[in-house]
């Protein structure tokens, strides 16, 4: 059984702190893969002023745990951390962190990428962009659905 840590928060996170919490005192971990997602200043060629993330609180935690457990079933991972923010964010702000630790690099990379692909389509978060032209909801991408489906 992997150690799983899930957090849905409007606070920022510190990648190094989360890594330390996971690896401290451990010598069975050979590989740690992290993914950090940031708000970019451009999306679909429009400059972004702000990004607001709406979420379904109870379900968000449930789904993140669900995704982590799916990853754990498929790959030999010893530890998983998923942190997802909500609320108002600005360009260069951190949005999401996924950590996957394993004895070997292959499992850590695969589990990390698998969880990110699921998050894009199955985690109940919705992004609204604020640009010079006003506000609009970010459309889900068929590309994200294809990315997710390659795991099934």
């Amino acid at each position: 059984m992997a150690h799983i840590y899930i957090q849905v928060t409007d606070d920022d996170f510190n990648v190094s702190d989360e890594m330390s919490k996971m690896t401290k005192g451990r010598s069975d971990i050979g590989a740690l893969v992290s993914f950090t997602g940031f708000v970019r200043d451009m999306h679909n060629e429009k400059p972004i002023k702000k990004l607001t993330l709406e979420h379904f609180p109870l379900m968000a935690e449930k789904q993140l745990l669900n995704i982590a457990q799916k990853a754990e079933e498929r790959w030999k991972v010893t530890d998983i951390t998923i942190i997802h923010r909500y609320g108002g964010l600005y360009p260069s702000d951190q949005i999401v962190l996924v950590l996957a630790a394993s004895a070997h690099r292959k499992d850590a990379f695969a589990a990390g990428e698998f969880m990110m692909d699921w998050l894009k389509t199955d985690a109940p978060f919705w992004k609204k962009e604020q640009t010079e032209q006003g506000e609009d909801w970010v459309q889900s991408k068929s590309d994200d659905i294809n990315q997710k489906n390659r795991w099934t």
Partner: protein, 83 residues
């Protein structure tokens, strides 16, 4: 049953949640969406493109043929854009 809306759907309907009684016309999620669409233009507008609607009953994803009970919490929202 408890209805909850998110994101674009919430904005069109104008409330984030509402309580509705189950009635004999409503057996499945599909029936519920049809029933609401006939009640008010807001709903028919929000549910116009069923490809862009996702449903969770008691926080689990379900399809449109899922059977509902009066105790269910039914969340209706657009495709997620997390990560």
């Amino acid at each position: 049953m408890q209805l909850i809306y998110f994101a674009r759907i919430r904005e069109i309907i104008g409330v984030s949640e509402e309580e509705r009684p189950l009635n004999e016309q409503i057996k499945t999620i599909g029936d519920l969406l049809d029933f609401l669409s006939l009640q008010d233009e807001k709903y028919s507008c929000a549910f116009q493109d069923l490809n862009a609607i996702r449903i969770a009953v008691n926080q689990n994803y379900v399809s449109f043929d899922h059977k509902i009970t009066d105790q269910d919490e039914i969340a209706i929202f657009p495709p997620m854009t997390g990560g």
